[in-house]
Point group: C2
Chain length 139, copies 2
């Protein structure tokens, strides 16, 4: 399947940074997708699905937390970006929506990363739309 | 960006169903990706990133919860599958890992859907790897 970027990340960050949690990023949307943003501002948290556009290749086993003292595990048992499909997935704080720009805090994506999707955080959906999921038994 | 399926969903479900929460699905992995599954069985919940492979096109505005009595909102303010990139994202219960098959419960994907990625649920990472995130202020 081919993905088309709906937006691009702008945050000026081009290398590893210590604390992504404090980074503010602007997601600058392609004009055709801007009508799809209506109502997004009601959410406090959203998921951003984006591309690790600087990564090439993948490895089957990695050290969790980039910590070489930890035994190797499968890459799917980690959030490492060295995965077969370069899809990043991060829950971020929504700072604001203005025109074609969605500003978020806590996105661990480099400047220029393509954005594939944004989705409201599921717990906020209940609050925003006043709809409550049937309660599940704790599993 | 081009995505390559790492696995395919097998659950026999070919049309809308009432309660996806109870559906068990097998994610049948391509052999080359099986080494990447090592250690995944330690998690109770995982994210599945998959393709809405039967959907075509997208719409900018939808009724939340498929409820026509609710005012239209932008598609990005919902989880509707009628989005520009057909990427589904669901947190599921991990039932088990055996060989090339990962069995999960609660995945809202039709039989035959391509799987692009699986990632451990972030809260479980702390438990599994005994690592605790620096505590953030509630925002």
């Amino acid at each position: 399947m081919k993905l088309k970027p709906i937006a691009v990340v702008r945050n000026g960050i081009r290398g590893q940074t210590d604390d992504w949690d404090v980074v503010e990023s602007r997601l600058v949307f392609e004009p055709e997708y801007v009508p799809g943003l209506e109502g997004l501002e009601r959410f406090r948290h959203i998921w951003v699905v984006f591309g690790f556009h600087k990564k090439r290749g993948w490895v089957a086993k990695v050290h969790p937390m980039h910590d070489p003292s930890r035994p190797l595990v499968g890459v799917f048992a980690t959030r490492s970006p060295t995965r077969p499909n370069k899809v990043g997935l991060t829950k971020v704080e929504l700072v604001g929506v203005r025109g074609r720009t969605v500003t978020v805090k806590g996105l661990d994506a480099f400047d220029g990363s393509p954005v594939w999707d944004v989705k409201p955080f599921e717990d906020d959906i209940e609050d925003v739309y006043g709809w409550r999921r049937p309660r599940r038994k704790k599993t």
